[in-house]
């Protein structure tokens, strides 16, 4: 290969990276630029008004927080259970590949299908109607595989000598799991959970059918027929209609709030993830 | 660029002395030819810390130079300077000059230098693909020979590495199916296929079993008949069996911190029996223990 062809190749890879950077900058720049003018204290403390284009997004934010909190509570025990089962309690080699493949597939399930499933089971089957709990459980189901994978990978990255030392001392598997594995891999669980929350906060389709309404809801009371407002759904509905310039500003503001929420959740997890990632990268 | 050959006498000052002595037997024909590889005041620092300092080394053509010394002295670093591989590491600063047959390698194209100065690593590195693919790998990109000559060069390179008979019937099989000893000889064939004038061997047998080690050592003697070879080795026995010249590297304190310096250089067997520097004597002691 000629010298110039080689340099051309490297140069075009740089152009590709630049293109990706451009997409990121345009997206973030537009959202921030158009959304910031909507920010004032009232935006965060007032409920929405005027068919949704005026006022603030208070209850949308609260609703989103309720949903992701529920999702976290529902998904964490299940994720820990799956991870422990796959790594400590059944450590046969074929099982690992199968388990990871299954988890990746579960993670890839389109969220709209999870939403429809919830529609069938929660809204109609259990008769809850649109309910914050149903939405939270669905979101929890959606983020469960990713959390499990993050924990499994973290557990497998533990140096074997910790486990060998513990077993050599005569600990049972349960004791090893509790005192060695879980304690050492809490970081992985933490970052996996945060990333799951970030994803759950931004998803529309699961809550579209089973939890969210556009207006007429505040803090939910009880379980049945107690929907919530939610940021993604709010944006989704508003985006489908034509609107006035003021309404457009409100819309961008809501999008910016959502983006900031998702970004902060991801960024908190960042240091732990970077450390783990660089540890596993070959020199 | 001919450096006057200096025969070093007994005096044991550990300062970086001019190196190496011209071997007694061939003084006549090599005295006036440029050395295959020559370094002048070669120094390397990494992020401010010195790794090598003031290396003046001379490697004669068609001779084997064994580079010995304690771990961490900088032998691999020195080797990487000779084919400009050191440049690939970030944060490295190099001073001094390295000459290849009289020409400074810094002024030449780095890839061309690496074709002329081949390298073998401690662990054999096999590319995915067949045995033939591996041997011809460098040749395909070197552009020094027409495709038509490849089969002949393939056989020649494998023959020089004493691998031809073992693999001639399975050239299309994956290289990964070879044993470790065979893989290292495959790497040797691959390096030889691009017809380097100098070969750098970084502890090529330390990962191999005794039988493969012997096979490679025999090959080194053969290959040295038409090339210069620099061999980093931890085994004094290997140096004794294979090398003409011996150079010893050790860390010494100096400006900036301890760094590798050249302490001795001369005819191999003679220096192994009668070391002329404290550092080499100490190293020999520690190896015998």
């Amino acid at each position: 290969m000629g010298k110039w062809l080689g340099r051309g190749f490297l140069f075009s890879s740089a152009l590709c990276a630049l293109a990706v950077l451009a997409v990121l900058s345009i997206a973030l720049g537009e959202i921030a630029g158009r959304g910031l003018p909507a920010f004032d204290l009232a935006f965060f403390t007032d409920p929405s008004a005027g068919a949704g284009y005026d006022g603030g997004v208070l209850f949308e934010i609260l609703g989103t927080l309720i949903l992701i909190g529920t999702a976290l509570a529902a998904s964490l025990p299940l994720a820990i259970g799956l991870a422990l089962a796959a790594t400590i309690y059944l450590p046969r080699p074929g099982l690992r590949r199968g388990a990871l493949s299954a988890l990746y597939a579960a993670n890839a399930v389109p969220s709209v299908l999870i939403g429809i499933g919830g529609f069938i089971v929660f809204v109609h089957g259990l008769g809850w109607g649109k309910s914050w709990l149903g939405g939270g459980l669905l979101l929890g189901l959606m983020i469960l595989p990713a959390e499990a994978v993050a924990l499994i990978e973290r557990i497998e990255a533990l140096p074997r000598r910790y486990l060998d030392a513990a077993y050599g001392l005569g600990l049972t598997r349960g004791q090893v799991a509790r005192s060695v594995v879980l304690r050492q891999s809490l970081g992985g669980l933490f970052s996996g959970a945060l990333l799951g929350l970030a994803r759950a906060a931004g998803e529309t389709a699961p809550i579209l059918f089973a939890a969210a309404v556009f207006s007429g809801a505040g803090i939910p009371r009880g379980l049945k027929e107690s929907p919530v407002l939610a940021l993604p759904y709010h944006i989704f509905v508003l985006a489908q209609d034509s609107f006035s310039p003021a309404g457009e500003r409100h819309l961008w503001g809501a999008a910016l709030v959502l983006l900031l929420l998702v970004a902060s959740l991801s960024l908190i997890a960042l240091p732990a993830r970077l450390r783990a990632h660089e540890e596993s990268r070959h020199g | 660029m001919v450096e006057t050959a200096e025969l070093s006498f007994a005096a044991p000052p550990a300062a970086a002395a001019l190196c190496c002595a011209v071997p007694e037997a061939a003084a006549a024909d090599t005295a006036l030819a440029p050395a295959a590889v020559e370094t002048r005041a070669l120094g390397v620092t990494h992020a401010g810390r010195p790794l090598l300092r003031g290396i003046d080394l001379r490697v004669e053509d068609r001779r084997v130079l064994a580079l010995v010394g304690p771990s961490g002295a900088g032998k691999t670093t020195l080797l990487s300077c000779l084919n400009r591989m050191i440049e690939l590491a970030p944060g490295i600063r190099q001073e001094g000059e390295v000459f290849l047959f009289g020409e400074s390698i810094a002024r030449r194209d780095a890839d061309a230098v690496r074709r002329e100065v081949g390298m073998l690593f401690q662990q054999p590195v096999i590319f995915p693909g067949s045995i033939a693919d591996n041997v011809l790998f460098g040749l395909r990109h070197a552009g020094i020979a027409p495709r038509a000559s490849f089969p002949e060069r393939l056989e020649r390179a494998l023959g020089e590495a004493a691998l031809w008979d073992e693999v001639k019937d399975r050239l299309r099989e994956p290289a990964a199916s070879l044993s470790v000893g065979q893989q290292q000889r495959l790497c040797l064939a691959r390096a030889l296929a691009v017809e380097p004038r100098v070969l750098l061997l970084d502890e090529p047998t330390s990962a191999l079993d005794p039988r493969s080690t012997v096979a490679i050592e025999e090959r080194i003697r053969e290959i040295a008949k038409s090339r210069a070879i620099v061999l980093v080795t931890h085994s004094l026995g290997q140096a004794r069996r294979v090398a003409d010249q011996l150079a010893c590297l050790d860390r010494r304190d100096g400006p900036g911190g301890p760094a590798g310096e050249l302490f001795e250089c001369g005819p191999c067997r003679e220096r192994l029996d009668r070391p002329q520097s404290r550092e080499l004597a100490r190293f020999l002691e520690s190896e015998r223990a």
Binding site: F9, L10, C16, L100, R199 | -
Partner: protein, 311 residues
């Protein structure tokens, strides 16, 4: 020796010491999680059954979807899904893999970390926000761009493809970078020592060795594109029965269309609940989507997990 220690720990448990609560909990929770996913599939299958019994799966492979007349031909939607997803992969693959090469092979360490953070940020942008960007920005730009094709509006399949390309870009870059970085540096060193230049080393050693991982990155990106609902919903026009006269033509891409996901995410799903056949048809469509995405995911896993896992 290690295996023996593990086995004796398991044996001690089996010999009836105090039951391990954590073990019970782990298996219990795992069972719940597995049951939830299996249950999801089962629910879909059960609800789709009336449709399968009435029309069989070939009922979906017609050209016309008109639930009022009992026709549920989903081919235009399948075409829409494929068109939009393939456009997005065709755009995101070269750009994303090129950026992955740059990230993994060219950038110095600290810049690479910063770049990975940027890519993660891009990946975290919710799809509804991408949808908003599509609605308010991309739509008009595409309408202007496609003027030669005389589009009615900017809501077209092409718009969906472009938007999806931006959405799967971070996935492709990140997974591609992981695949390239997993190739040991000893391979690169050996190639450079033979006299190969940087670009040659990348193209002849690193990329060929990383092909399984790169292929898996593309498969997973395609799966993500096929499953994306909200962003596509907002910019695609949601026109049913847009079956192109010529399949491989470019012109249908400049018109509005429908994908499987945009149909499922729309209001028709709410309305269809009472009618078993109509509802069954929609769920059958969902099962089809699920099957395709699952196959792509397993193919991607098989390709990249094929090597014996470490440890």
């Amino acid at each position: 020796m290690k295996l023996a220690a593990h086995r004796s720990a398991a044996g001690a448990e089996r010999r009836g010491r105090r039951p391990d609560v954590l073990r019970l909990a782990a298996f219990g929770f795992s069972a719940i999680a597995i049951a939830a996913f299996v249950g999801l599939v089962a629910v879909f299958a059960v609800e789709a059954w009336p449709f399968f019994r009435a029309q069989g799966i070939s009922g979906l492979f017609g050209i016309r979807w008109s639930f009022r007349s009992g026709r549920f031909g989903a081919l235009p939607m399948i075409y829409g899904s494929l068109a939009v997803s393939l456009i997005s992969v065709a755009l995101a693959a070269p750009i994303g893999l090129g950026a992955a090469v740059f990230l993994s092979e060219v950038l110095p360490r600290r810049a690479r970390i910063a770049a990975k953070v940027g890519v993660e940020l891009l990946a975290g942008i919710p799809s509804v926000v991408y949808g908003l960007l599509g609605v308010l920005l991309l739509r008009d730009a595409v309408a202007r761009l496609l003027r030669p094709f005389d589009p009615i509006s900017g809501d077209t399949l092409a718009t969906g493809g472009l938007l999806l390309a931006a959405m799967i870009l971070p996935t492709v870059v990140s997974l591609g970078d992981d695949a390239l970085a997993a190739i040991p540096s000893s391979q690169r060193r050996a190639a450079r020592a033979l006299g190969l230049g940087k670009a040659e080393t990348i193209l002849r050693v690193v990329v060929p060795a990383a092909l399984p991982g790169l292929g898996s990155a593309l498969l997973l990106g395609l799966g993500r594109a096929l499953g994306e609902t909200i962003a596509v919903f907002l910019v695609i026009g949601r026109q049913d029965n847009q079956w192109p006269e010529r399949l491989m033509a470019l012109e249908p891409l400049a018109r509005a269309g429908q994908t499987v996901t945009s149909k499922l995410g729309g209001s028709e799903t709410f309305l269809a609940y009472g009618d078993p056949i109509h509802w069954g048809a929609l769920l059958a469509l969902g099962l089809l989507l699920l099957a395709v995405v699952a196959v792509l995911s397993f193919a991607g896993s098989w390709v990249s997990l094929r090597r014996v896992p470490r440890g």
